[in-house]
């Protein structure tokens, strides 16, 4: 088993290196390396999955990486049911998106670079999932962030793209700050970072310590998975190419936070409080992001906020202790959200780069495959009963809330579901089923995408349709096939399942959402200038995503920059110094330089040193 496990990350890494080093030669044929590499990785993941299904697990070291005194952190990998499921989802969806990219990015001057980054990301992501201890997890946690940064800023000629990349990186650093501290604290407290040893010995942690560590780790998850209050980078990340949004910012990387919390559930359970925080942050984000999604004019931003919201559902699930439900939703979400993004990409592709919903409409007859598959994806996102996997996974989460008698959480999640249904159908109506609102010039060129792009759409649509029926139907005891598969990792909660009451509620919220969308966008003609207009303060609030960006700019970014400039001027008089010298530079030669040197400023420096000496000596004496 060990050899085949290594092949999973090795294939994309090899692909990345080949396209990086020989990019000049591979050029527009780069996908001939990149796509098969991921395909091979997927096939290997399947074989590994099959062996895990037979009950095998595997833990093994690669090499002794960081040694510091008595501390040793070998680069361990760990394969169990959870990582097998994640690997399958990551490589499977990854493969389809690589395939799609071959069509979508066709003719881009950075074709080879794009596939090199994408392969590198897949390598990092599979390593993140395979990691057998927190240190390796941390390393690849950073690595996927770096790839995400590279890919968001891929079209660097757009200033907004490079800014978005930078923002994503820096907001993630804030989260990683907590994550890094959490990992270090864990090491101090337990003396090990290996998953198995850590989870076996969490009982030795005092609950307050466990809470602190868990919350620090969760801070990292908030950054990576775009949860409140660190969610602001994800909508901006839509500046990247659409397949990137589908792969990294919907299906895989952003779910790393959910994976990490689920993986460390023993630690979070030891704390209890931390689990509660996770649940509430998830619920708050789910509702908050759904409200913002209601009104966005940009098709990709709607999907971005919906991703933030759905990630909130996953966190709510793991926070409620329904880990299997959270991971199940993670997987189904990977399918239907990747589908929606790729569909959106197909629409953008067909409309020559237009992303504004106000200028779309009436695309259904021209882009049949895209319309049908995207509608399936939308039904999955909205969780319309029975049709798709999205329903089954969301039902699991809601039933966990119901089963735990968490009625407030349940109500909020249902509210979120109603909002989700509304904005999903709004998007579908505005794009496909209303009268065309684009210019005649654009309208003439609207066309369906090539097969290399539609095949992945169909594949994902099929996955969205069947997954729920195959593994998502609860048995008499209230457990699903999926949950039973994960039983070695997460204890199965048998017992009452939501049943009829939940079904009625689901019908109700979906019905309300669809009805609202129909009444607003389907009954009468839609005027382009009427959509997404901030008519009321509430509209403006939602359109600006509750002003989080502005708040951060005012409270953090500007003061910090002002502080820096102030310190530079107060502490570093060299700034002024430099200006003065700049004037003199042209005329003064070396021989005469001594008299014109700013010796006065040396006085300042020396005075500071003297003051420092006084403080230091005084401090030592005072002790």
């Amino acid at each position: 088993m060990s050899t085949s496990v290594w092949l999973i990350p090795a294939f994309p890494l090899a692909g990345a290196l080949l396209n990086m080093v020989f990019g000049r030669f591979t050029g527009h044929r780069a996908h001939w390396i990149a796509v098969p590499a991921v395909g091979a990785s997927f096939v290997t993941a399947c074989t590994v999955f099959a062996r895990v299904a037979r009950g095998e697990t595997f833990t093994g070291p690669l090499f002794s990486w960081i040694v510091a005194g008595d501390f040793e952190a070998p680069a361990t990998v760990h394969v169990d049911a959870l990582s097998a499921v994640m690997l399958l989802a990551v490589t499977g969806v990854g493969f389809l998106i690589h395939l799609y990219s071959a069509g979508y990015m066709h003719g881009d001057p950075g074709f080879a670079r794009y596939f090199a980054y994408l392969n590198l990301f897949l390598f990092s992501m599979t390593m993140l999932v395979l990691a057998g201890n927190f240190l390796v997890l941390y390393v690849f946690w950073e690595a996927v962030g770096l790839c995400s940064y590279l890919l968001i800023g891929f079209w660097y000629t757009r200033k907004s793209a490079s800014d978005a990349g930078k923002k994503a990186f820096i907001v993630n650093r804030v989260g990683d700050f907590g994550f890094g501290l959490g990992v270090m604290w864990l090491w101090t407290a337990l003396g090990t970072l290996e998953y198995r040893e850590v989870f076996a010995s969490v009982g030795n942690l005092a609950p307050p310590t466990a809470t602190a560590i868990a919350l620090l780790l969760f801070m990292g998850a908030c950054g990576k998975s775009a949860q409140l209050p660190l969610h602001t980078w994800l909508p901006d990340a839509m500046e990247g190419p659409t397949p990137v949004s589908a792969l990294i910012h919907a299906a895989t990387m952003v779910t790393a936070g959910v994976y990490m919390v689920a993986r460390s559930h023993a630690l979070f359970e030891r704390s209890g409080t931390a689990l509660e925080v996770v649940a509430w942050v998830g619920v708050a984000t789910a509702v908050f992001a759904a409200t913002v999604g209601l009104i966005q004019p940009d098709i990709k931003r709607v999907l971005a906020y919906s991703t933030v919201s759905q990630l909130g559902y996953m966190f709510a699930a793991v926070g409620l202790g329904a880990y299997a439900a959270g991971i199940f939703h993670l997987v189904t979400h990977a399918f239907f959200k990747a589908l929606l993004f790729l569909g959106a990409g197909s629409v953008i592709h067909g409309m020559q780069g237009e992303q504004d919903l106000r200028k779309m409409g009436g695309l259904a007859p021209r882009m049949m495959t895209t319309t049908i598959t995207m509608t399936i994806g939308g039904i999955g996102l909205a969780g319309v009963p029975w049709i798709t996997a999205g329903f089954f996974s969301k039902e699991e989460i809601l039933s966990a809330a119901l089963g735990g008698r968490r009625y407030v959480i349940l109500a909020l999640l249902l509210l979120g579901a109603a909002l989700t249904t509304f904005y999903t159908f709004r998007l579908l109506f505005l794009a496909f089923f209303t009268d065309p609102r684009m210019s005649r010039e654009v309208a003439r060129h609207v066309h369906e995408s090539p097969a290399v792009m539609t095949v992945p759409l169909v594949a994902l649509a099929v996955l969205t349709l069947v997954t729920g029926w195959v593994v998502g139907i609860p048995s008499d005891k209230g457990t699903t096939v999926f949950a039973r598969f994960l039983a070695p990792v997460f204890p199965v909660h048998e017992g009452h399942h939501g049943g009829a009451l939940l079904l009625v509620l689901s019908f109700l919220v979906v019905g309300i959402g669809i009805a609202a969308a129909v009444s607003l966008y389907k009954l009468g003609p839609v005027r382009a200038d009427a959509v997404s207009q901030p008519r009321t303060p509430l509209h403006a609030l939602l359109l600006n995503a509750w002003y989080f960006d502005k708040l951060y700019d005012r409270v953090i970014v500007r003061p910090l920059y002002a502080l820096s400039v102030f310190s530079a001027q107060a502490i570093d008089l060299g700034v002024i110094d430099g200006i003065v010298n700049g004037l003199g530079r042209a005329v003064v030669a070396w021989a005469g330089a001594f008299r014109h040197l700013q010796t006065g400023y040396i006085v300042n420096y020396a005075l500071t040193m003297l003051a420092g000496a006084v403080v230091i000596v005084g401090f030592l004496l005072a002790r």
């Binding site: 960081i66 510091a68 005194g69 990186f169 650093r173 502490i571 010298n581 000496a613 230091i616 000596v617």
Partner: protein, 486 residues
């Protein structure tokens, strides 16, 4: 008149230093004979000196020699620093063979002074007597003062030299005063004898003040806050290769002296200096990083960044013990490769006229013009941020890990927060290189010579190797501090 008895002389304990000094003398002699139009062979000789010294240091590994009445020691600690300084010197010489020649300032004296400075640095790692510490420090500093003013036609170079010299002399006076007080209180300048005199007693007031004043002197060389203000001016004005040497070699040497002094001679005062360094470390990290944000001149930015990195390393001293001091040594090695490489790229981006591209805007679109150079600089900057799996990450991991285990959690919080802030200004350079259009025509002369390319390649291999396989080097660092903790 009684004959003077010949003192025991164990020259082998000085081998790495003597090799470099010999190379320096040879450079001066060969400077007088043809060929006169090129000095590249002298650069080669200087390089040979550093390489030979490196080899000698490897040869002597695990030696434990003491010589000249215990004034110097050639133990693993000294040898480790010989390695760091040897690498720094070799990289600087390689880069100089490209940069200094291109700027038309190449002379035999330049290489000789680099060698003299290097010998002073190595002696600082070996010194076990305050007098030798002072003399080596002056040997190093004097050479660097002159080197900083190498570009005689450029005002900022002369200004850098002058400021560095005046403030350095000011700082040296503090150091000397501190040495005098310690001598007065303990009756010796020898580390072991000082330690013996202090052992088991309440700290003497004179020694306390002496410690404070010596830390002022060393603080200047380390550029720790509030003794850092010379750094931006000097880094900016000095020739870039000299800046690289100041940032790597002189910093490592000053750390060597401080660590040996604090951990052996002033061991009994650990509670005092730990608390003091706690504050200095926190202040140094924060000021360095916050002020760096506002800089648009790359060399000034890197000056503040180096201040910040000194702050991180002081965290290791606060943590103490084999793991803390070992982490500092490892970090110095990692930092040497990273910083030498960063300044190396900057030195290569200079225009032929000697006017340098040091504004961040000069790097706009570099990735388009010179993808390889941009990629290499990005790697160095990412290592400075501390992104795994590069050397900077592992170094920070060791430092903060040691501090966490020492119980200095708040200091680590400050440190980690600071390294998050730091990402901003390093990343800005990468953004400019990859994501901005160049504002003016492409400056010529961007193709590194063989020497320059070799230096960058060595640095890259260094940071990747230290990042991917840090364990053997970390063990080396821990072994190096073992003699101090006996």
């Amino acid at each position: 008149m009684t004959p003077i008895p010949a003192p025991p002389v164990l020259l082998s304990a000085l081998t790495p230093v003597l090799v470099i000094l010999a190379a320096g003398a040879l450079v001066l002699l060969l400077d007088l004979v043809p060929p006169r139009d090129t000095k590249q062979h002298l650069g080669g000789l200087a390089l040979g000196g550093f390489v030979a010294s490196l080899l000698a240091s490897v040869w002597f590994w695990d030696a434990d020699l003491r010589a000249f009445r215990d004034m110097i020691a050639l133990d693993n600690f000294a040898l480790f620093f010989n390695l760091v300084i040897g690498y720094a010197g070799a990289l600087v010489v390689l880069l100089s063979m490209d940069y200094v020649r291109r700027t038309g300032a190449e002379t035999g004296e330049y290489y000789a002074l680099v060698l003299f400075a290097g010998s002073g640095m190595m002696l600082l790692g070996s010194a076990t007597d305050l007098i030798v510490v002072f003399l080596s420090l002056e040997l190093m500093s004097l050479s660097l003062y002159v080197l900083a003013g190498l570009f005689k036609t450029r005002l900022d170079s002369g200004e850098a030299s002058m400021k560095y010299f005046l403030l350095g002399a000011f700082a040296s006076s503090f150091l000397l005063y501190g040495i005098a007080l310690v001598y007065g209180a303990t009756g010796s300048t020898n580390f072991d004898k000082v330690a013996a005199a202090l052992a088991g007693k309440a700290p003497d007031g004179l020694v306390v003040v002496g410690l404070g004043l010596m830390l002022v002197g060393f603080g200047f060389k380390l550029s720790s806050v509030p003794f850092h203000m010379w750094a931006p001016d000097v880094y900016q004005g000095a020739p870039t290769t000299v800046t690289a040497f100041i940032a790597t070699g002189s910093k490592a040497a000053a750390f060597a002296a401080v660590i040996r002094l604090l951990f052996s001679a002033l061991r009994s005062m650990q509670p005092d200096w730990t608390v003091l360094l706690w504050g200095v470390a926190a202040l140094t990290m924060t000021v360095g990083n916050v002020v760096a944000i506002a800089q648009s001149n790359l060399k000034r930015m890197l000056a503040y960044s180096s201040v910040a990195h000194v702050g991180y390393m002081l965290v290791g001293l606060v943590a103490g013990g084999a793991s803390g001091a070992g982490a500092v040594l490892f970090y110095l090695l990692a930092y040497t490769f990273t910083t030498a490489g960063t300044f190396g790229v900057i030195s290569l981006c200079g225009r032929t006229s000697g006017d340098e591209s040091v504004d961040v805007r000069d790097y706009a679109g570099l990735a388009r013009r010179h993808p390889l150079l941009a990629f290499v600089l990005s790697l160095f900057l990412l290592s400075l941020i501390g992104i795994p799996p590069l050397a900077g990450f592992v170094g920070k991991f060791y430092l903060f890990g040691a501090a966490v285990r020492g119980g200095y959690l708040w200091l680590v919080v400050i440190g980690v927060l600071n390294s998050a802030i730091a990402a901003y200004y390093y990343l800005r350079v990468i953004v400019y290189m990859y994501m901005r259009e160049p504002e003016e025509a492409i400056p010529a002369g961007l193709v590194p010579s063989f020497a320059g390319g070799l230096a960058l390649a060595i640095s890259i291999v260094g940071i990747v190797l230290l990042g991917v396989m840090p364990a053997p080097f970390a063990n080396l660092a821990v072994a190096a501090v073992a003699p101090l903790l006996k």
